[in-house]
């Protein structure tokens, strides 16, 4: 009798609290931001907005599936086998192969939807990357281009120093490859969602529904997104030859590099414009009140909403939209944080510390961040610093952690002790 009672209790507890299957979250910031009501709307705004969100969710599910059962349309070029290895709950299949890699390794920070809003996100600084806009910081391609596959692989393999992103070097290459594919999938899905909202905002009237034809969804919405990703391999920036006056195998204070470091210092304080944010001391104490693109969206929209709330609200639809927007900003987005310029004397470079990594950061800047590039903004353009000269700035930056900084009035090197 007692055993029966216990078993009934366990069964009840298990039945009541079963974890629901994972689902993709809509990008509520964009869904609400692009759904500002027109004046005189007859239907209640919340009902109208819900209908539109349902249409978008239905289209996305048809095109991309669910977190447990991803879909890879042929037009995307995504490898379904890799997606299936990365998607779904963590479990081994009948042949003992472990699936659910994304949920095992990534989702706690980056979120099921790749929105950078996993459970732990609020504690991390910087916040985990939101894949949905398709913007990635550390890559070998032009600033606005998508990252190449090996750029993502490299970030996964090396991690991001100075952030919570660990290195996955201990994972087998096949698993890393599957994760890279899944990240690309989440990005394409997020970009598709953004494109749908933008289309709805610009093209659809109040009573219109979202088109669901193949011509619209594939040709008009999906193809431009996929082309960017597929063109990433050809969008790599050119790498200038390393000048003969510098030698990266030797430290910055080596006589062989004095001339190069001096030239780099002059560019850092001059044409490069680096001191504006990184400061004349390179301690990152220049302009420090800017936001990256992911946070800037929230900050600017927040100001707009706050301004609207302060004005008169005769229109019920607009009042409902403003209150919904407030709820979204407070509940569906992380509190915006300014992005401080890097302290270059720490020797801590998030995008990698190899000379080639620093060259790329300098050449294109950092996509999504306020850091501008000193190279041209696109093929055939002209930058503020000549390509080959960028290597001297790289050399100077690499020498900064060991430089005797006379400008600070210190007669000692800015080394590890000063980090504390």
């Amino acid at each position: 009798m007692r055993f029966t009672f216990i078993m009934a209790f366990v069964a009840t507890a298990v039945g009541c609290g079963k974890t629901p299957p994972a689902s993709f979250r809509l990008n509520m910031v964009q869904a609400t931001k692009t759904a500002a009501p027109e004046s005189g709307m007859e239907k209640p705004w919340s009902s109208w907005a819900n209908d539109r969100q349902k249409q978008v969710a239905t289209i996305l599910e048809a095109m991309y599936g669910t977190p447990d059962a991803p879909v890879a349309l042929a037009e995307t070029g995504l490898d379904l086998a890799k997606l299936q290895l990365a998607a779904g709950p963590v479990r081994s299949d009948i042949v003992g192969r472990k699936n659910g890699l994304y949920r095992e390794h990534c989702a706690h920070c980056h979120g099921i939807s790749g929105d950078g809003m996993g459970p732990t996100a609020a504690f991390l600084n910087p916040y985990p990357r939101d894949y949905r806009p398709g913007k990635y910081k550390f890559k070998s391609t032009w600033r606005d281009a998508r990252p190449a596959r090996d750029d993502l692989t490299r970030v996964l393999h090396d991690g991001v120093p100075g952030s919570s992103m660990p290195s996955f070097a201990l994972l087998p290459p096949a698993k890393v490859d599957a994760l890279v594919e899944y990240v690309r999938y989440l990005s394409m899905r997020g970009e598709t969602e953004l494109a749908l909202y933008t289309y709805a905002e610009q093209e659809l009237g109040v009573d219109d529904t979202m088109p669901t034809t193949k011509e619209f969804l594939v040709d008009e919405i999906l193809t431009p997104i996929v082309e960017k990703w597929q063109g990433a391999e050809e969008a790599r920036i050119p790498i200038a030859a390393v000048p003969t006056t510098l030698d990266f195998t030797k430290p910055g204070d080596d006589p062989a590099n004095h001339e190069s470091v001096a030239r780099g210092r002059a560019l850092f304080h001059g044409d490069g414009g680096c001191v504006k944010c990184h400061g004349v001391t390179a301690l990152g104490d220049g302009q420090a009140n800017d936001y990256d693109d992911w946070n800037k969206v929230i900050v600017e929209w927040g100001k707009e909403v706050a301004g609207g709330l302060g004005a008169s609200q005769d229109d019920a639809g607009r009042a409902a939209w403003l209150h919904a927007a407030t709820d979204v900003i407070e509940g569906d987005a992380l509190r915006p944080r300014p992005i401080p310029p890097r302290n270059l004397r720490l020797g801590l470079y998030r995008g990698g510390r190899r000379p080639i990594d620093l060259y790329r950061r300098l050449y294109t800047g950092i996509n999504g961040a306020p850091m501008p590039g000193v190279g041209p903004s696109g093929p055939g353009g002209k930058g503020s610093v000549a390509d080959a000269e960028i290597w001297h700035i790289v050399n100077y930056i690499r020498s900064l952690p060991y430089e005797f900084d006379g400008e600070l009035g210190a007669d000692r090197p800015m080394v590890a002790k000063d980090r504390l």
Binding site: V10, V14, V90, S92, T120, S163, P166, A169, G331
Partner: protein, 368 residues
């Protein structure tokens, strides 16, 4: 009045100077004679010697050891997210659990090794628990110990079913319940091992209930930790923030209670209580360091609250052995703090006292 004996509950009134073994042999001999058993020379002596052992305590200690191994394996299973390494239950890839090929177990994937090992240890723990219940009910131990043994059997069955449900339903909620029942079972095993060790009179005292509060706090802290460990990726950041706050509050509560217990029992507690309370404080200090290490291993240096210069120059490697040991060690030490709190509560007379007194009277009646 019974005397203290490290051998336990067989310590009976006897002439001073007579050692425990002699008394126990004498008692066993009387018992054999009362049953009119024939004499078989050295064999009979051997039986008498064996029967002189406190088997309930011995089996209970064995159960504590096996359970500690089981929970450590379970913690590793969670650390490596290996709970679903075997998709079926109670079979392992179609094999009877006990007949699963050893070479596949040892040379297969690491997560299969952990999960199947956890299952085997669970089965062993269940068997030892049944043995303990049988021994306890056939011995003249306190009624409280007997009923605790029954509770242990019930808990181990529930825990086994929960483990199976976790696999068959592939559900994180069940995993959390499973993770909370494990330490509860461990606490019961430790309580049986401690209560079956000594005579009733030794546990007299109990001027403070602080150890009970510490015991409860230590368990609730493990419950809070289980919510963090078995976090579902669909949880929103605000919920996670609340869970972290709860876990930190729990850590503060356990720290304060362990220090205050050590101070109070250091003044008027028994020798054992003083030792255990100090040991728990040492455990808590190490646990704090392991907790910080577990945070860094999982989520890096908390740069929101620490200077930028504290950032690690090299990112941590996900799934490294060092990370796994720190994170798992945090769980295992939490379990040991719970076990030590149980012992402390009993040694300090905060729990088990009333049951002990009743048993003491029963013993007196039985051997009057």
């Amino acid at each position: 009045m019974a005397e203290f004996s490290s051998r336990g509950y067989f310590a009976l009134p006897g002439p001073k100077g007579q050692n425990c073994g002699e008394r126990n042999l004498q008692r066993s001999s009387n018992f054999r004679q009362s049953l009119r058993l024939p004499q078989f020379g050295s064999v009979s002596v051997a039986i008498m010697r064996i029967s002189a052992y406190n088997w309930t305590h011995i089996v209970a200690c064995l159960l504590v050891g096996v359970t500690a191994m089981l929970l450590s394996f379970g913690a590793l299973v969670t650390t490596y997210e290996a709970a679903m390494a075997v998709p079926d239950w109670p079979a392992t890839y179609g094999h009877n659990m006990f007949l699963f090929p050893w070479d596949e177990w040892f040379h297969g994937p690491w997560d299969l090794f952990l999960e199947h090992g956890h299952r085997l240890l669970g089965a062993v723990t269940g068997m030892v628990t049944l043995c303990l219940a049988a021994v306890a009910w056939r011995s003249s131990v306190r009624p409280a110990v007997r009923w605790l043994a029954v509770a242990a059997v019930a808990l181990v069955v529930i825990q086994g079913v929960l483990g199976g449900a976790r696999v068959l339903l592939d559900d994180k909620t069940v995993a959390k319940v499973h993770a909370c029942t494990g330490p509860l079972f461990f606490a019961v095993a430790v309580a049986i091992a401690t209560l079956s060790r000594r005579s009733a009179e030794v546990v007299a005292g109990g001027a403070t209930r602080l150890p009970v509060a510490l015991l409860v706090a230590a368990y609730l802290q493990l419950v809070a930790g289980a919510q963090l460990r078995h976090l579902d990726a669909t949880v929103d950041p605000a919920t996670f923030r609340g869970l972290v706050a709860l876990h930190i509050l729990g850590a503060v509560a356990v720290t304060v209670l362990s220090v205050v217990s050590a101070v109070v029992l250091g003044e008027d507690g028994s020798t054992a209580a003083r030792r255990w309370s100090k040991g728990i404080v040492a455990f808590v200090i190490v646990q704090f360091l392991l907790g910080c290490g577990a945070w860094v291993a999982n989520w890096g240096v908390p740069s929101s609250i620490l200077p930028e210069g504290w950032q690690l120059a090299e990112p941590l490697r996900a799934r490294s052995v060092g990370n796994a040991l720190v994170v798992t060690g945090h769980v295992v030490l939490g379990m040991l703090i719970l076990g030590a709190s149980v012992v402390l509560a009993i040694e300090a007379g905060a729990i088990g006292r009333a049951a002990g007194v009743r048993e003491g009277r029963a013993s007196e009646r039985a051997f009057a």
